[in-house]
């Protein structure tokens, strides 16, 4: 249990310390170190949970089971690799005059603030605290989106703040309704918002109120997942903010918002005894998947392109969780991992590519492989992986989703296949000229640390070839927890 407290205390301490450190180069190192310690603590926690099973903290405020512990580990890992990338990247931005030392200080402090909010979302047992942490994540990142103070970035940040703020207010209304339903059965007191208590008594909760609550919770947290039609903030915030921010927003925030929805679904399913929540998620997920795939074709900005790809994949995961069968749940959990690893690697590469070319417009980015092979190949392999080609992990997880769909809703399979095809075409439309082609005049290699990208892509490749035993075990435990049955 100590590990959980450590996971929350490390980023908290990091936030305070980084708020005081004025030297940005040193701040970059402290940031990396905080994330490394948090990763170590999360591994400790994961081993602990693997051996001793689910754990509840003494005040019942924190709860760890196999579902969230793997997301904690994933969050810590992506947080660490992104912070390794972010040090030199932000130093380069500072040299280019896009940020000053004072804003960098805010950036590093809020990086840890965001990590703290993410860990709290994942580990808390209280649905109200989960909401508070989710709103905290918005507050931590909103000023980072406008870090460059260009008119576009201010607009993106304002949109992000208002849309996510209003969206998440609806989730609070859902939480109030949840509490209302629980209080009628469990009596007045602090325990009625605890997830463990709610889950135990789910069958006794009033279904009509729970159904209403779930609609609000889904729309609220769905805004954060980026579900269409609530996705408008996402491409803007991803494209205008600093690239490390895009990487952790896409790789972590979206996952954790989906985590919140799935936790709510588990409660509502227990209360309703029907599949209503699942159908809602399937509908939202499928629409997001298809609409985002189409929008990929209209993009001119490279970061916007990949943020639409994030919406597409989040849609697919929401859809898979909505199906709710053990296979689909397993596939969704797996896809969460592979997407998160691949997408953060892509954003890191894209950040370097944009620095290299001095622009984010895809028509102006040329000849990456000739200028700096590591970046060019990184972008090519990353895109191949995210488009769902074998032998990468995204292929395996998308394939599993397809199989699960074929089992339960065969008539939806063509839609998924068409969507994957459209998305593939959209991603590769511009890739050819960006990666190959001649070097534009004056384009020279930049100092870049591509280790995070290589590690991520190697892991995704490994996951595509074979899921290591402990991870498969973990996924099936989580599946058991969510869907009530084991996939094997």
């Amino acid at each position: 249990m100590i590990a959980v407290y450590l996971i929350l205390l490390i980023p908290l301490a990091g936030m305070v310390i980084l708020g005081l450190v004025a030297d940005s180069r040193r701040a970059g190192w402290i940031n990396v170190r905080c994330n490394a310690w948090a990763l170590a603590a999360s591994v400790w926690l994961a081993v602990d949970v693997l051996i001793h099973g689910p754990q509840l903290s003494s005040g019942q405020l924190l709860y760890i089971d196999s579902f969230n512990v793997y997301l904690v580990a994933l969050t810590a890992f992506v947080g660490l690799t992104t912070s390794i990338f972010s040090g030199p990247y932000m130093a380069h931005e500072q040299e280019a005059g896009r940020v000053n030392a004072r804003r960098l200080r805010l950036y590093y402090a809020m990086y840890q603030g965001f990590m703290l909010a993410m860990y709290l979302v994942l580990t808390t047992n209280n649905m109200g605290v989960l909401w508070v942490a989710m709103e905290g994540a918005t507050l931590a990142t909103v000023l980072l989106v406008s870090l460059y103070r260009t008119p576009e970035s201010v607009e993106a940040a304002w949109k992000y703040f208002i849309l996510c703020g209003v969206g998440i207010a609806l989730a609070l209304f859902g939480t109030v309704l949840l509490y209302f339903a629980a209080e009628q059965k469990l009596g007045i007191g602090g325990n009625a918002l605890l997830w463990t208590v709610l889950h135990e008594n789910a069958a006794a909760l009033e279904p009509n109120i729970m159904r209403l609550a779930f609609v609000f919770l889904l729309v609220g947290y769905g805004t954060k997942i980026g579900l269409v039609p609530l996705h408008n903030w996402l491409p803007d915030a991803h494209s205008e903010g600093p690239t490390p921010m895009s990487a952790i927003l896409s790789g972590l925030l979206l996952n954790d918002a989906l985590y919140a929805v799935v936790r709510c679904k588990m409660l509502v399913d227990g209360s309703l005894g029907t599949h209503t929540a699942g159908y809602l998620m399937m509908g939202f997920g499928l629409v997001s998947f298809l609409v985002a795939a189409l929008f990929l074709h209209r993009q001119t900005d490279i970061k916007r392109l990949f943020s639409y790809s994030s919406i597409e994949h989040m849609g697919l995961m929401t859809f898979a969780f909505g199906i709710g069968s053990p296979w689909a749940t397993f596939a969704a959990l797996f896809h969460m991992t592979t997407h998160s690893l691949t997408k953060s690697a892509i954003f890191v590469t894209v950040g370097h590519a944009a620095q290299l070319a001095g622009t984010q417009r895809m028509t102006k980015i040329r000849g990456l492989i000739l200028t700096q092979p590591a970046i060019g190949w990184g972008l090519l392999i990353g895109t191949v992986a995210i488009a769902g080609f074998p032998p990468f992990g995204v292929f395996a997880s998308e394939f599993l989703v397809l199989i699960a769909t074929m089992r339960d809703y065969p008539w939806l399979t063509p839609l998924l296949l068409i969507g994957i095809g459209i998305a593939f075409a959209g991603l590769f439309r511009h890739l050819q000229t960006m990666v190959y082609g001649d070097i534009p005049e004056g384009q020279t290699a930049i100092p870049a640390n591509l280790w995070p990208v290589m590690i991520h892509l190697a892991l995704v490749l490994w996951l595509g070839l074979s899921i290591p035993g402990f991870l498969g075990n973990w996924f099936s435990q989580a599946t058991q927890l969510i869907s009530g049955a084991s996939p094997f």
Partner: protein, 226 residues
């Protein structure tokens, strides 16, 4: 059920619910920013009064803390902050034009009816007062959104945003007698930070487009940029 049959406490809750809904409509029709913020402050104070009354009448001492927080944050601190920003940015003389005020009001009335309709499933399991409370709070939330849609001033957006939060608190206080303390405190902290961040944003927006008319924030779109 006749109103007179209800207990004094229930009648008071209904009265306050009505007043809070009224302030939402007043905000919807108020085109001067200074007065808009004033009405918002009144709504905050009404919310604090409701909380304090529930705390007193039903004997939930922890709700007094929540009432105090609401009063300080929503009734005093945030309105004063907004007021000062309005004067500092010279917006106090400006009139925010509301297009089609009659239609906006009709829309508001429709949202009110809609909220009652949505809340119907809740009625079967609880007293009349709860239905009104949940319906009114949902209406306040939706009216806050309508306010944000119909206005162009960033300040009006913030007021709409905060009034949504008021609606949520009202629901929590009347239907569930407040949230657990740790959640209340967390939400209050979030609201406070949000208010500060909004303040920072006013300056950033003014710096970038030279006004607070958010309709002019229109650079980012799916259309191909030149």
């Amino acid at each position: 059920m006749a109103i007179a049959e209800l207990s004094l406490y229930q009648q008071a809750v209904l009265l306050l619910a009505g007043l809070i809904a009224l302030t939402s409509f007043l905000m919807l029709g108020q085109s001067r920013l200074v007065r808009l913020v004033l009405v918002f402050a009144i709504q905050g104070i009404l919310l604090a009064a409701t909380t304090a009354m529930v705390a007193y009448a039903l004997d939930f001492p922890h709700l007094f803390i929540s009432a105090g927080l609401s009063f300080l944050l929503k009734g005093i601190l945030i309105p004063i902050m907004l007021q000062r920003l309005i004067y500092r940015m010279g917006l106090h003389r400006e009139l925010d034009t509301i297009e089609h005020p009659a239609r906006v009001m009709m829309g508001g009335a429709f949202l009110m009816v809609f909220s009652y309709y949505v809340s119907l499933p809740v009625v079967a399991h609880s007293p009349l007062v709860t239905l009104n409370a949940i319906a009114v709070s949902l209406a306040v939330v939706l009216l806050g959104m309508l306010l944000m849609i119909t206005r162009r001033q960033a300040v009006a957006h913030v007021v709409g945003f905060m009034s949504i939060e008021n609606g949520l608190f009202f629901a929590a206080v009347v239907s569930t007698y407040g949230m657990p303390m740790v959640v209340e405190l967390g939400v209050a902290a979030d609201v406070l930070v949000a208010a500060v961040v909004f303040g920072v944003f006013f300056f950033q927006i003014r710096e970038s487009i030279d006004s607070l008319d958010v309709d002019r924030l229109s650079k980012l779109s799916e259309a191909d940029k030149p």
